[in-house]
Amino acid sequence: MSEEILKALTQLFAIITKQDGGVTERERQFVINFFQTELDQDSIKEYLDLYDQFSGYGKEDDGKSKLTSVRDSVKTLGICKKINKTLTQKQKIVVLIKLLELVSTDKNFTPQRMEIINTVSTVFNIIQDEYQLIESFVISEDARSLNFVDILLLNSHDKAEEGKLYKHVHGHIQGDLIFMRIRSVDMYFTKYLGEESNVLNGFIMQPNRVYLFSHGSTIKTQAGDALYYSDLVANFNEELKTTKLSFNATIDELKFPNGAIGLRNVLIAEGPGKLIGIMGASGAGKTTLLNVMAGLVKPTKGNIMINGFDIHTQKDRIHGVIGYVSQDDLLIEELTVYQNLYYNARLCFADFKEDQLHARVMEVLENLGLDQRKDLRVGNPLDKTISGGQRKRLNIALELIREPAILFLDEPTSGLSSRDSENVIDLLKELSLKGKLIFVVIHQPSSDIYKMFDKMVIMDTGGYPAYYGPPVEAVTYFKKSTHQVDSNRGQCETCGNVNPEQIFNIIEAKVVDEYGQPTNKRKVSPPQWYELYKERFNIQRVEDEREEPPHSLRLPNKFRQMLIFATRDTLSKLSNKQYLLINLLEAPLLAIILAFIIKYKSAPGGAEYVFRFNENIPAFILMSIIVALFMGLTVSAEEIIRDRKILRRESFLNLSWNSYLTSKLGILFTLSAIQTFLFVLIGNMILEIEWSMLLPFWFVLFTISCMANVLGLNISSAFNSAVTVYVMIPLLLIPQMILSGVLFSFDKLNDTISTKGKVPIVADMMASRWAYEAMAVYQFKNNSFEAPFYIWEKGEAQTDFKASFLSDDLEKRRRFIDDNIKTSDDSVRQLIQRDLTLIQTTLADDYYKKGFEKELATPWTPATYTPEFSKKLETFLAGYRKFYQDMFNRAVMGKEALMARMQNDKDNPYNLNEAKNRYFNESMADLVRNVTEKERIIEFNGQLIQQINPVFQDPDVSNPLNYRAPFFAPQKNLLGSPVSTYLFDVLVIWLMTVVLYITLYFELLKKLVNAFDRTPGKASRPKGDEPKKK
């Protein structure tokens, strides 16, 4: 209190007391007492002199009282206005009560005195009704005459008298203990009328003296009854009586996966309207307890019941009831304060209209004093735009906006200034008064904050409960338990401060060795404290309310949720300029770098760039795929990790995981579509790849980028840190490169994985291989030059293969059989049998069977292989060769004729060379035709395999499930019908994407990782729409 105000008060006191009969000794004594609580001994004298001077103490009344009183009234007004400017309403109420008390010391209630006090009250803007209440409360000596709603009487009567408005509580007490509530400022005052010596916060109450009954206060009657602040508040609060809420946590044991015990025999039972603090030494399991109570961690033994519903098994009955504010910031940093709240609100209140939502958000912002900051970006702790306290409040606001019935907060005051801390706790206190049940883990609270809690749970090392009861009592309990002096005093006599540190000093007091040095052995071990606790506290379960707890949550449908998630995410991405810029520039820049570097004067003679001779095109396509994969992975890899905090907060809303994921995919796919399009557009333009390749190339890259997106989300959901995820990326990408089929030929891989003439199964799992095949085959088959000739070249290549190589090979085998048919050597006979089968099966599958159909229908054995048969086979093979030579010549002629026709078209002569230069790429053609392969035909697993010209080989469609084909085959077998490789390969990648989405949805990878890496107390993400077993 400032000097100025104290002076003003002194004058007020003086003015009042000097009216009508002057100052009495008792009144002066009251003033002295008042000074004693405010001032040191030296100053009391000074102010008392001032008082005496103003009040005219010791002077005789000179009879000029009338005149003085007018002057005094004017003076009073002046003083009150001065006071008005500095004191809060609460302080003004206290001043008013002091004035009334002063007057009542001598019961000298003259009209003039009362008139002045009334004036003071008016100037202080105290409502007349409240003034009446205060006046009656202070002055009255008969408790029964106080007929106000805001009065509570505690006496030995069983119930209140009929027809009276005041509230009544029964207690073992002589006389009346009266409580008054000042509604406008939410303050409580008490006074005692009677003879007993009751104790308020450890000090004896003077009869008929008004005391402020502040947060955390306790009154103990002589008979031993205790009345706590929280009980009193509960009696006044009508809302609490209508809130149906019961919370019973019975945690018999919580075992961490590593076997350590986290919590033992913790029992917490509470009803509505309580603010419960949880304290404990570090590592005592405060946060664990909070997490268990909030349902984030399941207790090993025990259960958590809210209104009789198990928090784990009956989630759907209590959804939206729990709010959880973790110690970390759970904010979307890129969004503004308002947007953070707004989208949260939209997810919570599906039935609200836009203006209702806005009103709700603004209301919460105003309540938390954040309305001035609503358009600031939240930012991160390093790039601050709002203060730490504001961040904390916003975190709380996010939970408050949906008004959960039970709220859990983990150290909401950590890192806040004492002012901010107090504001936060004030807010929570207010909420609890509205009927919410609030649990707060708190660390080193100030005295004021500490006292504000209704109850305090104190945990000791090893998860033992050590105390559960009113906060101030805790000090006395521990003092008493260790037989300390003055153990009844919980708080400081003069200032009313409680030192919560004291509690821990007692709990963790160390045994001192003979040199006076503390050892690390505790005087009282946690189990010993627990024994005491068991004796002292007998916690009764709160009776379960058998109805669903109140919740205002109305979730939007899954589609709407997805839209909200998507909008929110998009906004936050758009507001992150760096992210946006990098992501949009990445693709064009890479395309420019790549395409520019690999574009050279490729024409023979090196005169100019010609697409046809650019030997880098196969590598360009591979790089495009790697770039698409890389961009897809990097853009998604951090998504879920970054959101994990927000997901954790929203887990209490039971939002749809599917909606969340689809919103992510929507955004990521859009981004991938843009990135890959820009990449292909620029890459193709620089390398002069024809326009008709743009969209097909883009679609493959988009497809693979989408696959990478979902893959990235998988790892993002499975690992804890962004670093791990980014380390994972090479692990995922490099196999894609190795097994893409371009860097290393599939035929020259380790024999355990390679299958000749087909793509190895491991490579089939690589999206890169499918993408590459799709692009390469499409480019070769569908480029504007090749497209009309493809069919002819295919016929040419395949008939040539049969005429020149296959028939040769078969004939060679026939001769081998002829030469050795008479041998008795078993191994040779085996070879003969093998060759016979080989020839038979190869020919049986062939188109040309002229005159040999009958023989081919049955399997051949050495026994049936007669010289006549051999002769017949020889003739057949000669005919076979002749037939295919003929076919080859016809195909060549067909192609030549087509070329000639196109070139000689009179209206539109076709410049074949020009077209080939522009659209055809020699290196791509060499690659898909596998021209470097010297072994054109090999035998593998009893089959003859064509090694060259895979791009002209049709798939075997006899078995609908055999999808395997040579790399670069033009068509694939899809359930028995041939489908173009492009379509098939793209489908395979989409299938992979779908599979990855399923693993993502069920978080299979995360479960796998967690199975290897179990960390204690790790909270799982409770999910709303996990498939329910019904």
Binding site: R612, G795, Y847, K895, M899, A900, L987, W990
Partner: protein, 299 residues
């Protein structure tokens, strides 16, 4: 995403539904039913005539003896390779490059020789006769100039086997083109060298001698003139050349052959002589016509 999936599934079914039955069988059936017209002459006859034409490489030996320096400008640049897309062009130019390779070899121009070999391999691949050229062997041998002789030998032999192979495959038309190309290139180079050294009688005679070969080639080409319009066009061009050659007269004087012992070995000596009457004007015209035809082929 669901929409994408549904769209894709629809796309598959529509793709299947349209039933693109473009498999090998359908193609073969289609080919089988087409009527093709081959030459009216049997392949044996064609083979015999082909055998009678000397390999163009033999001509180029003359060139070195003429004492003229190597001139890459006479040859068809390997850079022209990408221009040859049809089998007709490929076969003709394969012949041309074969001659060029021989020319570079005579002058031991290894670097150029390797280029021609690569071009030859490429064209051969395009004609599905790449198996006669092992590109890796070519590459390995080409790194050492001492290997060039063997390389050339391989290549030359390959040309012979190619001819045989093509005939056995019923693709003698390609053999004809191969020879025509090689011969035309040889004639062109000889004409160029002759123009540079007008006094060299032997070169002039060589040019004149080509009259006989030209007639054979025209005979071969004429077999295909009905079935192949490219061949027909080529024949027309050759007829122009033939018209110029008609002015050249070759008088053949027969004399009994005699036997002589040279170093203990009996040798048959051909005493017949042939006189070739060819004017400077004729050479100039032939040279111009040859260049014209050749330019048509190589461009």
């Amino acid at each position: 995403m669901r929409i994408v999936i549904i769209g894709l599934i629809l796309a598959i079914f529509s793709a299947c539904g349209s039933g693109n039955k473009s498999d090998e069988k359908a193609f073969l059936e289609g080919l089988d039913s087409t009527k093709t017209e081959g030459p009216s002459i049997s392949s044996e006859v064609i083979g015999d005539i082909l055998q009678s034409i000397p390999a163009p490489l033999e001509i180029s030996v003359l060139l070195k003896e003429s004492g003229k320096k190597y001139n890459a400008g006479y040859l068809n640049s390997p850079d022209n390779l990408p221009r040859y897309n049809s089998n007709y062009q490929k076969a003709l130019n394969l012949g041309i490059y074969g001659t060029d390779l021989g020319y570079t070899n005579i002058y031991e121009q290894n670097q150029d020789g390797v280029k021609y070999m690569t071009a030859i391999k490429d064209l051969a691949d395009g004609l599905s006769i790449g198996q006669f050229f092992d590109i890796e062997t070519v590459g390995r041998l080409a790194t050492n100039s001492k290997n060039l002789d063997s390389l050339l030998l391989i290549t030359t032999q390959n040309f012979n086997s190619i001819n045989q192979y093509l005939q056995s495959q019923g693709r003698a038309n390609l053999s004809v083109l191969l020879l025509t190309g090689g011969w035309l290139e040889a004639l062109h180079v000889v004409c160029e060298v002759a123009a540079a050294s007008p006094d060299n009688k032997q070169l002039r005679e060589t040019i004149g001698e080509q009259k006989i070969i030209l007639e054979n080639i025209m005979l071969l080409t004429s077999f295909y003139k009905d079935s192949d319009q490219n061949m027909a066009a080529l024949l027309t061009d050759l007829q122009e050349l033939k018209a110029l050659y008609d002015k050249v007269t070759i008088t053949y004087t027969y004399k009994e052959s005699t036997f002589e012992i040279v170093d203990g070995v009996m040798v048959i000596k051909d005493n017949s002589t042939s006189t070739i009457e060819i004017t400077d004007e004729d050479i100039k015209n032939i040279s111009a016509a040859t260049s014209k035809i050749r330019n048509k082929i190589i461009s």
